[in-house]
Symmetry: C4
Subunit: 318 residues, 4 copies
């Protein structure tokens, strides 16, 4: 679709104040519009909760807390079933007599894990109606929780990540001919192949009352087909640009924030990926330019160093 | 895709009566076109059924009935296998002698669950050709049903949900300058990030014979890039609007129904999501406006209260 | 995307002979271009095979053969492992002495299934290095094959199906004013919600040498937003139509075939779906029209009968 | 989407040197822009690594190394747990006395596999706190690793593959009227149904300093709806073509490389698929044409031979 759509009719002239959907009138100070991880400073409150949200939270949790939570839940479930077997009495589990040197709770816990995981050595086994029923319930529970864990782990792995790395700062740079531009760099953080990347950049001003206005910043190049290296996205500050003749102090007074949307297609997972970011007035570097982030090896291979994406240098001879 | 497509050529003038695919001539009264959950009042009858439909039904069932059904099926399968072992005779299962204080059916049922879940304590084990074959079949059945349950649970979790919350009513409101408009509010019900939302609104009139006609309602803004807060969708009732100069009684006489399509992109699951809804003439509030549904905390964070999405107030000074 | 794309610039005038990608010059008779299941009469031969193709074949196989194949493979694997245990000697499996009334192969087979499914009663267990190693290998094999079966079953269920039901025949019909048209009907075969359906129809003529030519057939309506009922797709045979003034004999002489592409969006699975079909000259009914395929129940619910999608009646008063 | 988008406004005139995102100024020789497998000659270096990248690497590894790695990890985990049981002492595992003819490590290893896979015969079972705890941990580990393996195997199978087979060489061919063209052939390598294929072709020249320039090569036909056979993609070398009047020596001097992007929709998996390739100046055959790659069987079925996609013949009568 990108092939043809890029050749579609030119974008309509932006309205004088275009709200991209994040609000215009607030009447008091708010935080930045978009955080560096692409999230918004908005909390959501509702009297209703959804199973779907729980899944989503488990899928988007980072790996450390997720594994801790998973282990915790597995342990808790087994402790609860162990308590059940203890309540029914260990003499309703045959084989426990031979394990009398082990504390009763641990005997029950070991039997619980053997049942839950379906190991079932049989050195301990139920020999009453009560323990037989409870063990049946636990074995089926174990089966379903293994199914849930499988789904969660797969869901976590297969979840698409745009993985666009943005330079830490944007630059107010200038070309050899003295014309100014706003630029920032992006690169693919992951090993996947991204193609058909396209960018849109908006400028947001906020007045003293917290009210916002928005303007489109046209780009030197709106899209690239391939994205193996880094891409420097450039807005030329022509006389028509809303940034024309504004100083750093002007931008600070207007609480300028550069809003960025990036879209592409992840060829490895066959998914569209989106990425958002913003640079505030205090994240702009003036009169600097980027240092090349890749080297060419002797065998002709390009080596892109993601850590150097952020490197800038002063523009000489200003 | 939304970037460029929104800048495509302007929509062609709507035909005088555009059928969006839900029928024009019925000849007798029907129900509303679209229900609040986005479904249509259409039943489907066919002499053929499909496995695919069964999967779909299991995926879209709500959690309560689904878990009850799953548990019921697991229990039934185990009861059936237990019946099989009973028919073959418990003396073909070694270890049952030591469990003679347990009713024969329960002995068979416990063995069945131990086999189906692959716990296999071994305190009961098959010792004849018949029970050996039946236990082999059951263990393989258990394996495949665990695989099925895994797929179903993952399918349920990973199924995309648009999760657009619509205000309970739409408003026939008016601006300070006295011009009328039709508006309603939407918000993202879930924690996922929705972007590139776009809306289309149609007006449906129905005559006394149940015959319908449709008209496009142009919107003040057709799309937003971001959707962290709520979005108020507005149709200005200009002299060109098919709603111009119509009263509540007029709309009731024509059984007016406002049909809504919303599309967006779920950035968390990398999926396009669609949502449908409608407001009937008796779900319009006249001369009211929406109360702001979010607060700004002292730390500058916006707090959106989904429960307040529906709140309206009278317009003063009419 | 469909919103805006439908409002894109009008399609360019079709070239006099547009090849949709299925070939023009063959030089000898071939079969119909598109079969009723959407497949083409093309075989593919290659000296290389791919694991991906095997997966695809297993995913698209119908349920009967798939389950038979799955059961067959599971049985075969267990027979092979059973043979291994027999070769190593049943005296290397403790517990077999008590089962001497069961034929040796069955003892080995039962042990194999107990190991493969990880039931592991333990009434039979390995007691030598050889059987210990073989049982370890089999248990791990069982684990991986269960993982494969889970993936296959989920892949089969979650595979998208367009599920568009086409009327058995297309009609050469005529309106009350005497103008002719070509029409056919489609409906959603499944319970999923399809939206944004769009159609494209091509006419293919084949000459005596098997050489084909193609022409676009413009449609009265190219797309619908909703698809809860059936949709009748109509090409008006205006003087510009390539079908103008052609008789049934003319179409037979040219081996006319109507090629159809349908696309839509499955809202239940968030997937684009495509469907292909064709009507040959001998699958056209002349001077007939469709009978309405749905009834309106007393409670206002529409009941669509998929079996009646194909029903036609003679046009009276010609 | 392809229907309408292909009818969008015509593509803008290409800029004199269009960078598709792979760089313009390098200042020293580099390798070809795109390899035959669609990859770029770019390495990525970063001080941070991601779990997501590990998953991606495991998903894209070829089957041989993947299965070896999987088996290796499973064996290693079991060896480690076996070491743990040995450290705790085999007398903490009841049942080992009867297996004293088996080396202690193997006893521990067999018990480990029986626990990890949840076979749990019970001929060996834990009888101390230490082995009980370790066996509980191992059983839960086994459960989670089975879940991971399921996800990985499904992820590998369901990963989309464009599977476009390109002819080994591109041809500088000529028509009967003497006009030259550049052409190459593609076919679907897999059994899946690809539709709505579209192509874009760029010409890249590189000067002695390693600096690149790019130009669009317009195509005779940019897209096909269906793709059951092969598709020959043709750029006519008109006087406007950047290839006009260039000889093989000219192309070699400019290190010409033909860059190709192909996109389509895989109807079997409901996914967009992309494919990239390139032909360097030394992969062009001059004054040759393709031999038809398919036969028509007597029953009218077309038989496409993928191995013959690459076959060319000299153009007679030049």
């Amino acid at each position: 679709m990108p092939f043809s759509s890029r050749s579609a009719a030119p974008p309509a002239a932006p309205p004088s104040s275009l709200d991209p959907g994040i609000g215009v009138n607030f009447g008091r100070p708010t935080r930045r519009a978009i955080n560096h991880d692409g999230s918004f400073n908005v909390l959501r409150r509702s009297s209703r909760s959804h199973v779907h949200d729980l899944y989503q939270e488990l899928i988007t949790l980072s790996w450390g807390p997720f594994m801790a939570l998973l282990m915790g839940v597995l342990t808790l479930v087994n402790v609860l079933f162990a308590g059940g077997y203890l309540l029914l009495g260990l003499d309703n589990l045959s084989g426990t007599a031979a394990l009398s040197h082990i504390p009763p709770f641990l005997q029950a816990f070991f039997f619980s894990v053997q049942t839950f995981t379906t190991v079932g050595y049989g050195s301990i086994s139920p020999n009453s109606i009560g323990t037989g029923v409870l063990a049946s319930v636990e074995a089926l529970t174990g089966l379903l929780m293994a199914a849930l864990a499988t789904g969660l782990l797969y869901g976590r792995f297969s979840r698409p990540r745009a993985g666009i790395l943005f330079s830490h700062t944007a630059l107010m740079s200038r070309r050899a001919d003295g014309t100014r531009n706003l630029q920032f760099r992006v690169a693919n953080r992951h090993r996947s192949t991204l193609v058909d990347l396209r960018a849109r950049v908006l400028l947001q001003f906020t007045d003293a009352n917290g009210n916002r206005s928005y303007q489109d910043l046209p780009l030197e190049r709106e899209s690239v087909y391939f994205f193996p290296l880094n891409w420097t996205i450039v807005h030329d500050i022509t006389p028509e640009s809303p940034l024309h003749n504004l100083t750093a102090a002007d931008l600070a007074a207007r609480e300028a924030e550069i809003l960025i949307l990036l879209k592409g297609y992840d060829d490895t997972f066959a998914q569209d990926v989106h990425s958002r970011n913003s640079y505030r007035f205090d994240e702009l570097e003036w009169d600097r330019r980027y240092v090349r982030a890749y080297d060419i090896r002797e065998d002709g291979i390009l080596v892109l160093d993601l850590d150097r994406l952020h490197e800038t240098e002063e523009i000489q001879g200003l």
